[in-house]
Amino acid sequence: MRILSLFGGKSRRNVRRPGGSSGGHALPDEPFATDLRSNLDKLGKLFPDTLDLTVRRLQIRATGEDAALVYIDGLTDKIDIHTGIIRPLLMETGASGELPIEIGRMVRIYGWNDLTVAVLKGSSVLLVEGSDEAIVMRTGGWPQRDPTDPKMETSLRGAQMGFVETIEQNVAMIRRYLPDRELKFKNFNVGRRGNTQVSIAYLEDVANPDILRELEDRIGRLDIDLIINTGELAELIEDNPYSPFPQLIITERPDAAVSQIAQGRFAVLVDRSPTVLIGPASFVSFFQNIDDYSTRWSIATFIRMLRFLAFFISISLPAFYIAVTSFNFELVPIKLLITIGTYRGTVPFAPFIEAAFMELTLEMIREAGVRLPSPIGQTVGIVGGIVIGQAIVQAGLISNIMVVVVAFTAISSFILPNLDMVAAVRIIRFSLMAAASLFGIFGLLLGLMILVGHMISLETLGTPFSTPFAPMRFSDWRDTVVRSPLWKLTRRPLGAHPVQTRRQGDNRRKGDG
């Protein structure tokens, strides 16, 4: 079933869905003619000016029939085609009625739409004289790379293998971790032109069927040209695209994906994209990292706390600085206040301008560093460091304290393990700065209240985003701000509403052991 749907057209879902895979070529699914010549004419009309379309005429030795093999040059594995199809067809004298083809995956199709999709996705199609069916052979062999270590989510102890651009390989990576019959993949084709294969991976006896239905429904309803990357899919299916918070985790690590699947969540794999979408995500899950579970629990707990602290600091520290320097300086102890005052005394800008300027500079340096090739990227860092650290302060444009604040904010935001959350933090930080510049500490708190109000109202795939804090689920707290010892995590977190909650038995050795 899974293989079938790879070729499009036959999937139940595709039939049902309006504007499905073949919608781009608005043809009714026309059956093949029995005459090979007219079929080839038709093929020529369907694919005009297609340089890489190869049509190989040949005579099948076993049956003596004329046939044509159709495939696209660049998308197929030539060795497969030559040794697995063409040579046996030309050489073998088939004893049985079977065609002597040495390819594992073969499917018969009956219409032009299926042929188009198959050919365009890298399969070879054999049309035989006198037959109104065609044989599709899986000979995909497009350019692809080997799995390398994940670039963005490096891990100290985890596997050094990241997802790649081919969904089959990604599926294989997940299966390697979970050789379990209950691991299911639900497939969809998304995009009229892109016809991208998307599949939802989950554990059937653990994951919640209601959430699955919701997810299926959202993906199934998409009517779009093309999906290039996982991020696009995430934006299309998430609950509240206006929220600053990411509501689905995007990961490039198979081990991270599998660990989430094992907790009863869903992973959405998108063909051609080296990242996987995981949902439903809660606020806390953006602070978890696969390394947390492979380091000792005490240090993992410490790092967790550090991350939450860092999150709080990086959203509110510049705003707090603005609030205390231009509204509420009574909060600052007197000696510190005099120090700040001495530095601020020579700065010509108001604290908000100062802070906004420095934060923007920081964002620019960061953005410059991301896109530039790494040798130049380092130069940017050095220039940025010198410009911020030295020149600006010496020129009296920005106060020393502000530089400290910015540096502290930046470091804090680097601690957060998830890039999408860091992006959210940046947006929130600027909003809070604006609020603080209007109402001081009251503005800052007002902003935080709105943020909290928004967070508790936010839902991802119908589950609360702010779990396990609101609604409070104390049993889930074991893997939030603290990371309890693994033997304590006997139940799956309730955040994803798993139908089977027991995760493990008692693994703690008793007695003197």
């Binding site: 509240n240 206006y242 929220s243 600053p244 320097t325 231009s326 509204f327 300086f329 009574e330 007197i334 000696k335 206040l337 005099i338 700040i340 005052g341 001495t342 601020r344 005394g345 020579t346 700065v347 108001a350 604290p351 947006i427 600027f430 909003s431 809070l432 604006a434 609020a435 510049s437 209007l438 109402f439 001081g440 503005g443 902003g447 709105i450 943020l451 109000g453 928004h454 109202s457």
Partner: protein, 372 residues
Amino acid sequence: MKRIARKLGVALLSLGPLTGCYDRVDLEDASLSLVAGVDITEDHRTMSYTSIPVFSKAEKKSQELKVVANTQRQGRGKLDAFTVGSFNGRKIKVIALSKRFVQETPDWFRYMDIYFRDGRNPITPRVILFDGKLDQLFFYHSPSQPMLPLMLMGMIKSASDRSESVATTLQELHRQMNEEGQTPFLTQMSIKQDAMIDGTSLLDHQGRYVDMLSMPETVLLRVLQKKTGESVGFTLRLPPGLTGSSGEADWVSISTERVKVKIGSAYAGGRFKFSVHVRFSASVVEKLSSLDLDDHQREAELACAEELRDKFEALIGKLQQKKVDPVGFGIYARAYHYQRFKQVKDNWGEAFGQADVQIRVSVAFADEGSVK
């Protein structure tokens, strides 16, 4: 639909130009008064003093000003004319009152009203009574000292940490002024060779200056108030009969480890009776005589206790004579003899003056140090 939540920044920003930022005063634009002072002129008009830190590359780190004004608030208005930034009292750390102001202004405490009424003003500044004209204090510059507010704060803190001075905050003063069973007390300072703490000023219920306690007496007061710091030290003279030496070698210094004060109260014969039992557990830190503490520990302890009791009795006698009760015996009286206290609550000082106060002191040496 949910735009308000998500576009918080945008919403606030668009409101921003509409509304302006009313409360914004940038730190460097504010003239933060750190020390406030009140004095009176010869013709009994009040004068406001202030000390403001200067946030610039100027040589002088603070600016000191004085104006004549009817109220503190009016004084602020006048001070504003002298300062670069807008005058601001939200960070006052020390309030200095001149002795003359306290002596000659009836009901002077009402001048402090602004600190309590204005919700943004602090109520934690230390209140000191300055013996002399405030000009001396505010325009005094010692090259070896930090700026005025830091200097005052540092002095008060170190002295009160050693229990040699009180550190009455404005709120504490407010509590004492509104307390029937206790009279107020303030840190008293003066400038002799350099700025120095003299001891503790005692005020009566109306806030009039009555007398002062020296720093050693203040230590005893703080013991009775159960407000001693980490440890207090006493240097006591042992009787010659015990030490066997004569004259200068009789001194012994002890440092307390634990002080327990128990105050019992009773009412009999038309007056209150208080029995105070002070127990010190102390270590010997200095001993000039050759007295062997191993052999004569008990005697030495008793001698110390006696010496201390004399000191306490002298202190109580002084307080009773002046009819002030900074210890707060009245609070005990109210708690345990409410009906009796109610009769004298409007003039507790008087009643305390007639009260019978018994003092018992016991001393136990916990440690005699590392040499015999």
